[in-house]
Symmetry: C2
Subunit: 162 residues, 2 copies
Amino acid sequence: MHGSPRRLVRLAVLLLFVLASLTAVAKSGSSNPAVAIHSADDQWAAAALAKDVDKSVSFCGPDAAILVPNAPAAEGKEAIRKWFQEIFNIPGFKLSWRATETAAAKSGELGYSRGTYELSFTDASGKQVSDHGKYVTVWKKQADGSWKVLRDIFNSDLSPAH
Amino acid sequence: MHGSPRRLVRLAVLLLFVLASLTAVAKSGSSNPAVAIHSADDQWAAAALAKDVDKSVSFCGPDAAILVPNAPAAEGKEAIRKWFQEIFNIPGFKLSWRATETAAAKSGELGYSRGTYELSFTDASGKQVSDHGKYVTVWKKQADGSWKVLRDIFNSDLSPAH
């Protein structure tokens, strides 16, 4: 009975189903959209901490915009690439962030992350400058199941006089 | 034939359906979530332009946060109320904004608006100060069908030296 063709077919169908599910989960990072967004946010932060321009840009969707403070928004991947290149070239530049909250719509294709950032660099006079603040990123699930940045905006907790 | 009971019942059912639909649309502002968010954003901006603290706070959900630049975030309705009171009390204060884009998830309970703001006030020395910038607001549909602010964040387009 254990090796009957019918049982084997059933087992094969079950295995195929499990494999298909695992592949889908691997693509999106997780079957839970809020967890998948958190994972994408963490990986994006790691790319920026490593000052990897290509990888940092790769987390942005085709129509992404980064609403940079004290400057006009960086609209689209080329403007975003230029912005990452500029900031990563600042002497002593270090940017790290961490999501404190992620959530997604029930339909599972749109969500957001919220978190805090820390930033430091060396200014023209050789002085160490430090900043910290907060951000909101709107994420959109792509056709391939990956989550990409749609809108990103951040601001400082510090007073301008600081 | 025109006044047959069967036709009248059908007409009554149709009218009830239309009324129910109109009531649902009236509650949410629109049956299209992106349009409803745009409408809520416009009404929120009108309340802020009128410096109406109660009305400005009423557009914020129970767990809303406004991520104010150059200050820690205003977490929850009481902190948001205090913040609106403070800024509306600044001499010559005027804040206006306009959504340039709204979108919602397919499930229709989560979405965002993006737009630009203009701000002016009179500083301690009597000088007129002007600022303009951009914002992203995450909106959540409430149980009663209304859209409320969940997260709001904005920053200036101007350099700090301005």
